[in-house]
Symmetry: D2
C-alpha cells in the first residue's frame, strides 16, 4: 500500500470532515495520512473526537499548522474548514503542488465583488477565483482532470443546480417567471458548534425559514444556473428541518410552450448516465430524504401541469455526502485520475 496517494483532512472535527474520513479509511487508492483541527487546541485521537470511529483508526488529530501538513507530503488536501480559514490557507497549500479540495465557500464565486456582502470579507485572491474549478462533478469532469484547486459546491446549490442546469441549458425554462427554490435542510448543515439555533429544544418539533432573500448560497446558485442574482430571476429560501441529515428542494419554474415531462426526463437522462451519482425518478414516486440519507446520491424527479406549463422539481441529497464529503471525493478521484466512484460504493 506504499504507493497509495496520501491525503490530509483539515477540519477533521466537523461533520463533513468526519464523514470524509470514514470514506478515506476504506478507499482503495488513497490513504489518510493526517487529520487536522483548527489552529489552536490540543492533539486528540480521532476516536475520542468521533467515538463512531472507535476501532477504525488510531490516528491523532493535530492542531492545524502548514509545516505539519507539509511534512506529511500529501498529494491531496481536503479542507472542511470555515470560509475565512480556507481563504487564508489555500494559497500556501497550493504551492506544495498538492490538489486542494476546499469544501468551504471561499473559492466558489467567480465574482470577487460578491464576497464582502455575502461572506463578510474582501477576497484577497480574485486570480484564484478564476482558476478554481467549481466542482459540481457531473458538469465538469473534463476540467477536473489534474485540477489543483477545486471549490466543492455548497449543499443547497447542489440540489438545485443538478436538476435545473440541464433544463436551462436545453432552453426548456421560461425565465420570465422567477425560478423559486424552496429548500429544507437537516441540522448538520448548520455545523457542529452549539448555538441557540442548533439547540435540540429550539429545533425539535419545530420548523422555520431563515436568511430569507439573503442566504449566501443565492449568488452561487445563480452563477451555477447562469441566472441573474436577483429575485426577479431566482428566489432561494432555506428552511431548517428537525432531522440530522438531508436536504430536499422543491423548485418551481415555468416551462416554455410545448415542453413536456418527457422532455425534462430526456434532458436529465442525457446529462446523467445510469452510472452517475444522480438518480432520476421517472415514475410517480418523487424523491424523499430517507432515500438518500447516508448515500452519495442526488435524487431528482418532477411533476408538470400540462395545461399551465408549470413545473415542480423535487430533489434530495444527503447534505454531508453529495452536498459535501462524497462530492469532494468524486472530485478528488477525478483530479487524481481514479475512477470517479472509488471508495464511494
Amino acid at each position: 500500500m506504499g504507493n497509495r496517494v496520501r491525503a490530509v483532512v483539515a477540519g477533521a472535527t466537523g461533520y463533513s470532515g468526519r464523514d470524509l474520513i470514514k470514506y478515506l479509511l476504506h478507499h482503495p487508492q488513497i490513504e489518510l495520512a493526517g487529520a487536522f483541527a483548527s489552529r489552536s487546541g490540543e492533539p486528540a485521537p480521532l476516536k475520542l473526537i468521533h467515538p463512531q470511529l472507535t476501532g477504525l483508526t488510531d490516528l491523532v488529530c493535530q492542531p492545524f499548522d502548514e509545516s505539519a501538513v507539509a511534512k506529511l507530503d500529501p498529494q491531496v488536501i481536503f479542507l472542511g474548514t470555515p470560509n475565512e480559514f480556507s481563504h487564508e490557507v489555500v494559497p500556501a497549500l497550493l504551492e506544495s503542488g498538492a490538489t486542494v479540495v476546499d469544501l468551504s465557500g471561499a473559492f466558489r464565486l467567480r465574482d470577487a465583488s460578491l464576497y464582502p456582502k455575502y461572506y463578510g470579507f474582501e477576497h484577497a485572491r480574485p486570480d484564484l477565483l478564476g482558476k478554481a474549478v467549481y466542482g459540481l462533478t457531473e458538469f465538469v469532469r473534463q476540467e477536473l482532470r489534474g485540477a489543483k484547486l477545486i471549490a466543492n459546491p455548497g449543499c443547497y446549490p447542489t440540489t438545485i443546480i443538478v436538476p435545473m442546469k440541464p433544463l436551462l441549458d436545453a432552453g426548456l425554462i421560461d425565465t420570465d417567471q422567477p425560478v423559486i427554490c424552496d429548500s429544507k435542510s437537516g441540522v448538520t448543515g448548520a455545523g457542529k458548534s452549539p448555538t441557540a439555533g442548533t439547540h435540540f429544544v429550539e429545533v425539535s418539533e419545530s420548523f422555520k425559514s431563515y436568511n430569507v432573500f439573503k442566504h449566501r448560497h443565492t449568488p452561487e446558485i445563480a452563477q451555477g444556473l447562469g441566472l441573474a442574482n436577483s429575485p426577479n430571476s431566482l428566489i432561494f429560501t432555506p428552511h431548517l428541518l428537525p432531522i440530522n441529515r438531508g436536504i430536499l428542494s422543491t423548485i418551481y419554474a415555468k416551462l416554455n410552450d410545448g415542453v413536456t415531462r418527457a422532455d425534462i426526463l430526456k434532458a436529465w437522462q442525457e446529462a446523467f448516465p445510469a452510472s452517475s451519482f444522480v438518480r432520476i425518478f421517472d415514475s410517480a414516486q418523487l424523491p424523499e430524504i430517507k432515500f438518500v440519507a447516508n448515500t452519495p446520491f442526488c435524487d431528482i424527479g418532477c411533476a408538470v401541469d400540462a395545461a399551465s406549463g408549470q413545473l415542480i422539481v423535487v430533489s434530495a441529497e444527503d447534505n454531508l455526502l453529495k452536498g459535501a464529503a462524497s462530492q469532494a471525493l468524486q472530485n478528488a478521484n477525478l483530479a487524481l485520475g481514479f475512477d470517479e466512484g472509488a471508495g464511494l460504493r
Copy 2:
C-alpha cells in the same frame, strides 16, 4: 351550570376530536354532553381512548347513532369525522335545529362539481353548500351569528387564506405571477389511522412532498382567495414534516408596482385587531412552528425584496387548533352568541 349550552362531539377518537374535547371540558358556557366515535365499535371511556384525559372526564364514548345524539338534545354538534361521514349525516343533524360545525371538507366548496374529482364522491346536497358558512372566523364574523351549518376550514387553507386574502382584497398582489404556496405539515394532519405513510420509521429523519398539483385543499384555497383553480394562478404543494403538530407555509407572490412591506403590514393590521387569534410578526422575526404549537394562534410575517417587488409570506399555526379544534370553537362561540375566545385562553 344547568343552563350551559349542551355540546356533542362526533369523531371523538381522532386527534381533532380529542383537542376539541380538552377545550370543552374547561369552557365556561358550554358543557360536553356526549362523545361519539364511528358507527361501529363498542362504547369505551374517553380516558381509555385518550389516556391524556385521565382525571379530566369519566364520559363514555359511544358508537355514533343519530337517535343517541338527538336524545342528548345538543345545541351544538361538532363533527371531527371523515368527509363522506359528514356528508351523509349533516342533513339529518341540521333538522334538530342544532348548530353543526363540520371539521371535514364535506361542505367547504361552493362548487359541487369539484367533489367527484377532489373528494371522490358526488355531492348530494348542493343546496347546503350554498348555505354553509365557510368558517375562516376572521373574515365572516357577521355571517357566523346564528349560523346553523359551519364548514370549518382545512388546516392548510387557513395558513394561506389568513395572510393572503387581505392582500388580494386590497389589490396589492400582481396575479400575473402565480401565487405559490409551499406548505409543510406535521403528521397529526394525516389522521390517527396507522398507514405506511404515518409509520414512525417512514417519517422520522425524512421529509417529502405529496399530492403535488393534486391536493384537495387547492380548490378550497383558490375559492378562499378568489383565484382561479389553476396552477397559472395558484400552486399549492404540501409536504410532510417529522413533527407531531404544526404547519408552516412559505408563500411566494409578486407585488403590484410600488407596494411596500409597510402596505402589507397595514393591510394585516386592519384585518386582524390585536385581540384576534392572528398574530402579526412585524419585526425581523418570522413565524416558526414552535411559537404556535399548542396555541390557538395563526402567526403571519413577511419579507419583501423592494427592487424586484417579490414577496415572501411565512405563516404558521397548530394544525389541530387554529387549523381545526380552536377555530371550530371560535366559530361555535360566535354562532351561539358567546365571546369569540371563550374557552380558548
Copy 3:
C-alpha cells in the same frame, strides 16, 4: 384586580421560567408584576425572548437586581435560576417578607455537607436548609401553609418520590435489594444554554446515560425516600431522550413477603386522592410520556411478578411542569392560602 397577589419571576429567560409565566398570565388570584433575567444583559420584552408569548404580555424582562425586585413589592418570588444564584440571593429576598419558591437545588438538601460534592460549593446558610420546606406538594400540604422558603423538588426526584414514598412508608418494600431507578428525560431538563450535549445532532436519533452513579439528584431522592445515600440502597441512572419535554422513570424494587399489586394501589389511593395532580394507572395501561406532556400531572402505575415479589413501577411527568413550574405553583398556591390547583386547570 388591584387586590391580586403580586408575583415576580427571576430566571424568566429559561424554559421553567417561561412556563411559569404562562401559568401566571392566566392565574385568577396572582398577577405577574415583574420578570427578571440574570444580573447582566439588557432589558428585553418577554415576547422577543419567548415569541410564544406574543399577544399575551407586553412585560419587559429586566436584568436581576434586588432593589428592582423590592420596588415591585412582590408577595411571592419564583426563582428559576442556577443553583449558585439562588444560594446567593435567597437570604436577602426572604427579608422582604415575600414567599420564595426556589426551583433550583440550592435549598433542597437538609445535610449541608453534601453541597460541595454534589453542587460544587460550600453552603453558607445551613440554618435555612433546616427551615426550607421541600415542596413535593402531595406530602407537605400542612407545612406549606404560610411557608416562606420553599425548595421546589428536582424533576427526576419528583417522578421517584411520588410513587415510592407511600410504598416505603407503608413498609411494603424489602430494602435489602437496592431500589433501582432508571430514568429518562427530555432535553429541556438540560436547560436552555447551547452546549455540545444539547446540540440537535448529538441528541436526535441517539440516546445515552450520563452522570452514572454521580448525579446530584441521588442524595435528594435518598432524602425524600428515607433511604441511605448509597448504591446499596438506591441507584439512580439518568438518561437523555431525544424529545423536548417529559421524564419517565422505571423503578425496580423487591416487595416484602406477601405484598400484592392491590396493596400498592391501595397505598397510592390513600396518598393521592382523585382531586390531586397524581394520577394512578390501575389498569394494564402503564404511564407514557405523551399522556403527561404539557400537563401538570405525575402519572404512576406498576407491574408485579407475584412469584418472585419483584416490583416494577413506571412513572411519568412533564419535567417543566410537575417537575418544575406547575409544582412551584401548587406550592405557592398553598403557601398563599389559595386552592392548590388555582391557575393550573
Copy 4:
C-alpha cells in the same frame, strides 16, 4: 464472479431484509441470487419496494415459494421472516443442503416447551432446536463452521448477552441479586407493518415501557446467560425510543466481593479481541446509540461503585445490524468459510 456463493433473502420487504440486501450487493464472495417477500402478493422490483436501492439493483422481489427458491440453487438462505413463517419453512429449506440463517425467533430457544407461552405456537421440530447454532457469533465461532441451521439472536438479547456472558462465565457476578436489564429500542425493532403503536404521532415526543415482565426475549436472554428464566434472577424491561435505529441497554448487577472494574475490562478483552465487532469502551465515555447507528458494532462499557460492589453496564448496537443483518452475515461468513467480516467493513 461465476464462482461466488449464491444467496437468497426471504423477507426482503422488511427492514432487516433490506439492510441485509445492502450488504450482499457489495459482498466480495457472495452474490444475491434472489429476493422473496411473503407467499402472497405480486412480484415487484426491489427498488420500488425500497427506493433507497435505486441504482443499486434491478432484482425483482418474488412471492415466496419453495420451488422458486430451489430453482436458484442457493448455498445460503437468509430468513428475515415472521416466527411462524420460519418455523414452517425451515425444515424443507434445510433439505436442499443450503445453510439457513433464520433471523426470527423460531429456532432460538432450546426448550420447546417455552414456545406456546412466548411465541403462541407449539413447536413442531424440537429436534431442530437441539441442532440449531444460536448465532451470537463471538461465542460460537467454532460451532458456526459448516453449520446448517443458524438461529440469529434477537436484537435485545445481543446487547445483554454480549457484555454479561463473559462476566457470568468468569464468576464475577453475585447472582443473589437479580440481573436487571432496562433496554430501550428504536422503532425499526417493531417491524414495518403500520400499527397504532408505530404511528409517528404515538411515538414521537413520547417514550414508554412495554411487555413488562412478559417479553419473549426474556427466556432467550436467560438461556444465553445461563440464568433461570425468573425475575428472581433476571428482569428484562423493553422500552420504545422515538428514533429509527439502535438499542441501548442499561444493566444492573451486583459484583462478587472484591471484583473491580479492571476485572470486568479484562474479562471483556479476553472475550473480544480488537478485531471483533464488539468494541470495549475503557475510558470514562460510555456507549451511546449514535456511535453504533449504521455500524455492525456492539459497544460495551461499565461503571462500578467500589464501596457497594454495584455494577452498571451500558451496551449499544444498531438493532438492524449487529441486532439482525450484520450478525447474520458474520454467521454466514463463518459457516461458509469466509472471513467473519467479509462484506461488513
